[in-house]
Amino acid sequence: MSDTALNAPWATADRQRVATQFGMWAFLATETLFFGAIFLFYAVARWSHPAGFLAGAREADAWFGSANTIVLLTSSLTMAIAERGVRAGLVALARAMYALTIALGLCFLTIKGFEYAKDISEHLIPGRRFPLAETGASAFWAFYWTVTVVHAIHLTIGLGIVARMLLIPRDRLAARWTTAEGTALYWHLVDVVWVFLYPLLYLAGR
C-alpha cells in the first residue's frame, strides 16, 4: 500500500489513497464489534451481581491504571504530531515522534507488567486461591484479565506497525502520508479502547 508505487488495481494514486482509508475504517468497524462483545460481558456480569462485581473492582489498582492512561494519551498526542509531520514533510520531527510513540507504548507495557505482578502476588486470578468470596467478584477479574491481555496484544501489534514507519527511508517518508494515516488510525483505536477500559476497570469500584 505504498503511495510512491501504484499497485494493482488502482488507476490513480488518489484512488489508491481512498482505498487505503476505506479499508482501514472498515477494519476499525470490525474492531468496534469485537470489543463490543466483551463490553457486553461486562454489562451482564455487573448487572447480575452488582455488589460482588464492584467488590472485585475495588481491588484493581487505580494508580497503575491512571499512570497508564496518562502514558497512552500522551502517545496518541505524539502519534498525531507524527502523522501531521509526515503530511507537512517534516521528516525529522515525524521520526522523532514515532520513536517517542514506541517508547511510550513500551512504557505502557512495562507499567502493565508491574501491575500484573502485583495482581498475581495478591492472587487476583480467579481460581482456588482467589481472595474474594462474593459472587461476581471473580467475574470482574475474568473480564480484567481477558480484556487487558487482548488490549496489550493490540498494542504490541501497534508497536510493530509504528516501527515499520521508522523503517521507511527518510527521503520517501513524506510521500507515505496515507500509510501514516492508517498507522495513526490504528494507534488511536488502541487508545480509544483504553479510554473506555480505564473507567470500567479502575473507577467502577471507587
Partner: protein, 556 residues
C-alpha cells in the same frame, strides 16, 4: 483442440493466453494475486471439506437406519455430528459461494480487473486454510463432542474433547471471512466501471455486498465469543460459569448474534446466483429489480435482530422472546418478495430447462419450503414443541442444503464455461440436478414428520416407531450422495475432454460474458463502459406475444 475454428470461437487465436495458462508452476498458483486463481484455490479447498463433511453425514445416516446404536457409540456419534456441523458451516457453506463464484465474478461483473486488495485476498485464503487445518487436526486427533454450537458450560467445563483446537480453527477462519468482506465492500464502492451505477449492478453483485456487510459486522462478535470460551476453558476464568456469577446464556447470545446472521451469509449469495440464472434462462429482465435489491439489504439488516429466536427455551425473558418472534416473522417479508419476484420473472419467459435452470428452480421450491417452516419456528408456542427436534434439522437443511447448495451447483454449472472455457454434458447435468432435488426431498422431508412426532436431534438411538421415517431419510441420503458425486465425474471429464466454450454460450448480458472464456489475466482488453441497466434480455417495448411478432421468424 482449437485448430479448427468452431462457431463462437472465430477470431480466437489458438494459443491465446488466459488466466489459467498465464503461469503453470505451483509457485504461480500459491503466490497468485489474481482473483480468478484465488477463487479456484478456494474451490479446491471447499470441495475437500464438502466431501469430508458429507462423509460424516453418511456415517450418521448409516447409524440411524436401525433404532439401536449399533454402528457408533453415543460418544462417537456426538463427534461425528460435530465434525459434520463445524466443517459444513465454517469450511463449506459460509465461504462457498462468496469465495469461489464471488471472487471469480465480482470484479468481472462490475468491469474491474481485480478486487480492491489483491494481496489481502490471497492472505484470506491462507488464513482460511490455516483455520481449516487446525480444525481438521482437532477433529482427527479425537474430535469434538459439543456440536457445532460449542454451547457452554459443556464446552468450557465438562467436555473432554479438543474444543480449544477446534475453536481456534474457527477463530482464525473468521478473520479470513472478515478480510474477504472488507475486500468485496471496497471493490464494489471503488472499482465499478464507468457508468456502472449502483442500480445497474447485477443482483449477484448486490448479494455479495449484502453478504459482506453481514460478514464484516457479525464475525468479530463470534471471534470474541470464541475468545471468551477459550479464556474460560484454558485459564479457568469464570465467564460463562454460573457458580461464579457468569452466565451460560450470554454465550448463546454472542454466538447467535453471529450465527443467525451467518445463515444469511449462506443464503444471500445463493439468492444472487439464482437471480442471475433465472433471468438469463427465462430470457427476461428480473421482475422488480429495485425491490430485489432492497429485499436483500433488508434481509441483511433485519438478520441482525432475530438471533433471540434460538433461545426461546433458554430462559430468555418472555418479552424478549415476543420481540424476537415478531422480528423473525418480519424477515419473512423480504424473503417472500424475492420468491414472488423470481416467479414474476419466469412469467411469460422463454424458459430453457438447462442444468443451471433446473438447479435454480429447485432452489426456489426448496427455499420456499424451508422459509415457510421457519415461520413455524418463529412462532413461540410451536417452537417450544419443536425445539431441538428433527423439525429444526429439516428446516435449516432446506435452507442451507436445499437452498445454498442447490444455488452453488446452479452457479457452478452456469459459469462453468466462463471459468474453465469448456462445456459439460447437458444431459448428464440435468440428470444430476433432478437427482439432487429428488434425493434432497427424500432425505429431509421425512425429518419434518419425525420432528413433529417428537424425535429429538443429536441422538444415535431412538424408539422403533420412528424407524420407517429414518430408513426413508437414509435411503434418500444415498440418492443425494450420488447426486453430489456424479457432477465430479462429468465436470472432471469436461475439464479434460470437454468441448471448447464460446465467450457467451448462454447469450447472457452480464459484463462477465463480454470477455473471453476463460478470461485473460487482466479481465478486459479495455475498461468496459456501461450504458444501461442489467438483464436486457428483451428490449423495452418488445412484446413476444404481439400479433406483429407472430410473423417474424422464430428463433429457438
Amino acid at each position: 483442440m482449437g485448430d479448427a475454428p468452431e462457431a463462437g470461437l472465430l477470431g480466437r487465436e489458438p494459443g491465446e493466453r488466459n488466466y489459467l495458462t498465464a503461469g503453470t508452476t505451483v509457485r504461480s498458483w500459491l503466490l497468485t494475486t489474481d482473483h480468478k486463481r484465488i477463487a479456484l484455490l478456494y474451490a479446491a479447498g471447499i470441495t475437500f471439506f464438502f466431501f469430508l463433511g458429507g462423509a460424516a453425514a453418511t456415517l450418521m445416516r448409516a447409524e440411524l437406519v436401525t433404532p439401536a446404536g449399533d454402528l457408533l457409540t453415543a460418544d462417537e456419534y456426538n463427534r461425528t455430528f460435530t465434525l459434520h456441523g463445524v466443517i459444513m458451516v465454517w469450511f463449506f457453506l459460509v465461504p462457498s459461494i462468496p469465495t469461489t463464484l464471488g471472487n471469480f465474478l465480482l470484479p468481472l461483473m462490475i468491469g474491474a480487473n481485480e478486487v480492491a486488495y489483491p494481496k489481502l485476498n490471497l492472505f484470506s485464503w491462507y488464513l482460511w486454510l490455516a483455520g481449516g487445518l487446525l480444525t481438521l487436526f482437532a477433529l482427527l486427533a479425537g474430535g469434538v463432542d459439543t456440536g457445532w454450537t460449542f454451547y457452554t458450560p459443556f464446552s468450557t467445563l465438562y467436555s473432554n474433547s479438543h474444543v480449544l483446537l477446534a475453536a481456534a480453527g474457527v477463530f482464525v477462519a473468521g478473520f479470513s471471512s472478515i478480510a474477504t468482506g472488507i475486500n468485496f465492500i471496497a471493490t464494489l464502492h471503488l472499482l465499478r466501471a464507468r457508468g456502472m451505477t449502483w442500480m445497474r449492478l447485477p443482483l449477484f453483485a448486490w448479494a455479495m455486498y449484502a453478504t459482506s456487510l453481514v460478514m464484516v459486522l457479525a464475525t468479530p462478535v463470534l471471534a470474541m465469543a470464541l475468545l471468551l470460551l477459550f479464556a474460560e476453558r484454558a485459564f479457568g476464568l469464570p465467564i460463562f460459569d454460573p457458580r461464579a456469577g457468569g452466565d451460560p446464556v450470554l454465550f448463546q447470545h454472542l454466538f447467535w448474534f453471529y450465527s443467525h446472521p451467518a445463515v444469511y451469509i449462506m443464503i444471500l449469495p445463493a439468492m444472487g446466483v439464482v437471480s442471475e440464472v433465472i433471468a438469463c434462462e427465462a430470457r427476461r429482465r428480473v421482475f422488480g429489480y429495485e425491490f430485489m435489491v432492497y429485499a436483500m439489504l433488508m434481509i441483511a439488516i433485519i438478520g441482525f435482530m432475530v438471533w433471540g429466536h434460538h433461545m426461546f427455551i433458554s430462559g430468555q425473558s418472555p418479552f424478549a422472546s415476543l420481540v424476537f418472534s415478531a422480528l423473525s416473522f418480519v424477515i419473512a417479508v423480504p424473503s417472500a418478495i424475492k420468491v414472488f419476484n423470481w416467479t414474476g420473472t419466469l412469467y411469460r419467459g422463454q424458459i430453457r430447462f438447462s442444468t443451471p435452470m433446473l438447479y435454480a428452480l429447485g432452489f426456489v421450491g426448496l427455499f420456499t419450503l424451508g422459509g415457510l417452516t421457519g415461520l413455524f419456528l418463529a412462532s413461540l408456542p410451536l417452537d417450544v414443541h419443536l425445539t431441538d427436534t428433527y423439525f429444526v434439522t429439516a428446516h435449516f437443511h432446506y435452507i442451507m442444503v436445499g437452498g445454498s447448495v442447490s444455488a452453488f451447483f446452479a452457479g457452478l454449472h452456469f459459469w462453468w464455461p466462463k471459468i474453465t472455457g469448456r462445456l459439460y454434458s447437458e444431459t448428464l447435468g440435468r440428470f444430476a440436478a433432478v437427482s439432487m432435488f429428488f434425493g434432497f426431498n427424500f432425505t429431509f422431508f421425512p425429518q419434518f414428520v419425525l420432528g413433529y412426532l417428537g424425535m429429538p436431534r443429536r441422538y444415535h438411538e431412538y424408539p422403533p416407531e420412528f424407524q420407517a421415517w429414518h430408513v426413508m431419510s437414509s435411503t434418500g441420503a444415498v440418492v443425494l450422495a450420488f447426486a453430489y458425486l456424479w457432477p465430479l465425474c462429468y465436470l472432471g471429464w469436461s475439464l479434460v475432454k470437454g468441448e471448447r466454450a464460446s465467450d457467451n454460450p448462454h447469450d447472457a448480458t452480464g459484463l462477465e460474458w463480454q470477455t473471453r472464456s476463460p478470461p485473460p489475466t487482466d479481465n478486459f482488453a479495455e475498461p468496459p463502459i456501461v450504458t444501461g441497466p442489467p438483464y436486457r434480455y428483451h428490449e423495452e417495448g418488445y412484446a413476444p406475444h404481439a400479433p406483429a411478432a407472430a410473423d417474424e421468424p422464430q428463433r429457438p
